[in-house]
């Protein structure tokens, strides 16, 4: 009954994004939760193992603790976690198909969708509107950060020594020495923490909006309750993120390197000590 009935468009003339709009929107939402958000949880708990490792695993790494002191348990725990990840079969396939491609997909569509909005917090300074705006800002920052993060620490692109690289056999000491490398190290540590907290917000808030998008939380009460759960998840991850940075900034890289060298030596002759 529309007075200006549009002529039926053939499938070829309709852009790809319009034809698969719903699917792309929902895949964008899903990819933020699984795999990307789900990955964020073990990633941050692994990083913070530099601190909780020394608190929880004195017994598990009693030999290095006896030799190098109680801090060595954190170094050993972190190295143990990193070694476990590096030992995963087909790691490069997991990285490409479960991480890099989903992140690229989420980032490209996210920027495309974010550009359809216009910030109006100057007029409507509601908490929800601030979160709407922050979700987009942390998204933009997150794209730049994750690219720098993966390209330097995983692919070894240091951009002329500006960004640190990661030494898998000396996981804790290489991370700590980069973060303690004078002004550049402090800047990287602060920027890193800023970006990580931004992405944690992005994940927690995205988890909250995804429940609305998919229609899991309908009533205002349900949205409030799920919001509280998301805040709890965000706070827990933020604690893990902050803990990790404090742990690496305060760790003595020389001592850590000795522990790691010891562990490498142990791994080379496993039968001898057990």
């Amino acid at each position: 009954m529309s007075t200006h009935a549009a002529p039926a468009k053939s499938a070829a003339t309709v852009p790809f994004i319009e034809r698969h709009y719903f699917l792309l929107r929902r895949l964008h939402s899903l990819s933020g939760v699984v795999p990307i958000g789900l990955f964020l949880i073990p990633h941050l708990t692994t990083n913070s193992s530099i601190v909780w490792g020394s608190a929880l695993h004195q017994g598990k790494f009693s030999d290095v603790v006896a030799r190098y002191g109680s801090d060595a348990a954190g170094v050993a725990a972190f190295q143990h976690e990193v070694d476990f990840i590096h030992s995963l079969p087909g790691l490069i396939m997991i990285e490409i198909f479960a991480l890099w491609l989903p992140i690229a997909f989420h980032a490209i569509l996210g920027v495309y969708f974010a550009r359809t909005g216009k910030c109006n917090i100057d007029r409507y300074a509601y908490q929800g509107n601030y979160r709407y705006w922050l979700q987009r800002m942390t998204g933009y920052v997150g794209v730049a950060f994750i690219f720098a993060h993966i390209s330097s620490l995983r692919w070894g692109w240091t951009f002329g020594g500006l960004l640190p690289s990661f030494d898998g056999a000396h996981a804790a000491s290489s991370t700590a020495s980069h973060m303690q490398d004078g002004l550049l190290g402090s800047t990287i540590a602060i920027l890193y923490l800023f970006c990580v907290l931004g992405l944690i917000f992005h994940f927690a808030n995205g988890l909250w909006t995804a429940a609305i998008t998919w229609g899991l939380t309908i009533s205002t009460g349900a949205q409030r309750r799920w919001g509280q759960v998301c805040v709890a998840i965000g706070v827990a991850l933020a604690i893990a993120g902050i803990t990790a940075v404090i742990g690496f900034v305060t760790l003595d890289p020389e001592d850590a390197r000795e522990v790691e060298n010891h562990l490498v030596g142990q791994a080379a002759q496993p039968a001898a000590s057990h």
């Binding site: 549009a6 509601y126 929800g128 709407y132």
Partner: protein, 270 residues
């Protein structure tokens, strides 16, 4: 009969300054004019605009044209007088001077920014009605024979639907929405974001026993580009809705319905 103003009690006559963003026509440049108005705290903004129309002289003393605005019911049910008052969208009829006048004794009024200005504070909300057509916001009862009595409605359902039915298409939810942008060209109305009001109406008619016969068509319209997926969950709509309609609940409910609709369509093909 008009009662004489009560000047003895706590509602004295006061003089305020009203700054209005004016525009002579759709393609004209906007300008600001201010007026001194004698009014009372209990007066609404429409009566302030009536005072200006009765004596269209600016603060500087120059004669001007009366300010054009839309108003109908004056009791917040017709939705025609929504405008941006002190930076926030709301119906002018239910905006009382005492509640909105600032410390500086000034009230600022602008037309809504998401719709084409007809003149001054009057805007063309046609896109909202196009959105209602887009989501088939009606009950299909037209036919060649008597359909008889409709199915019974439970009081519980009726209560849920009642508040949703109070939407007056004022446009406040769209004006405050960061995802809803001005689209002067009717051609783009089929793919640009449909907005909270129409999504709520789709839910209202989907929940109607007879209206539900068009449910799939409504969900199909809200599945594609410009449908419910374009919501960014800023939730400004529910904050500014003068009728306190749970718009964000309607958006979430339609979100669930299009999820089910899409899965059903994937497996059954329709």
């Amino acid at each position: 009969m008009i009662a004489s103003p009560d000047t003895t009690s706590a509602n004295p006559i006061r003089t305020i300054t009203v700054s209005i963003k004016r525009q002579n026509g759709p393609a004209e440049q906007p300008r600001w004019e201010s007026f001194q108005v004698e009014t009372q705290d209990t007066a609404n903004l429409i009566s302030v605009l009536q005072s200006i129309a009765a004596r269209p002289v600016t603060t500087e003393g120059s004669a001007t044209t009366p300010v054009v605005y839309d108003a109908g019911c004056l009791e917040e049910v017709c939705g025609s007088c929504a405008m941006v008052i002190n930076g926030r969208v709301r119906p002018a009829c239910s905006a009382l001077v005492g509640h909105i006048v600032g410390e500086d004794n000034t009230i600022t009024i602008e037309p809504m920014g998401k719709f084409p200005v007809v003149r001054d504070l009057s805007v063309d909300r046609e896109r909202m009605f196009a959105a209602l057509r887009r989501v088939k916001a009606w009950v299909p009862i037209d036919g060649t024979y008597d359909l008889g009595a409709g199915p019974q409605e439970t009081p519980d359902r009726q209560e849920t639907r009642y508040v949703m039915s109070t939407c007056m298409t004022c446009g406040c939810c769209l004006e405050a929405c960061p995802q809803y942008q001005k689209e002067a060209e009717p051609k783009s109305w089929d793919t640009s974001f449909v907005g909270a009001a129409a999504i709520n109406q789709a839910r209202l008619f989907n929940m109607h026993a007879t209206g539900a016969t068009e449910k799939d068509a409504r969900l199909e319209a809200l599945t594609g580009e410009g449908g419910v997926n374009d919501c960014g969950n800023a939730q400004n709509c529910v904050k500014v809705c003068p009728k306190e309609i749970p718009l964000t609940e309607s958006i979430a409910a339609i979100g669930r319905d299009v999820t089910v609709h899409a899965v059903k369509k994937f497996f059954t093909g329709r």
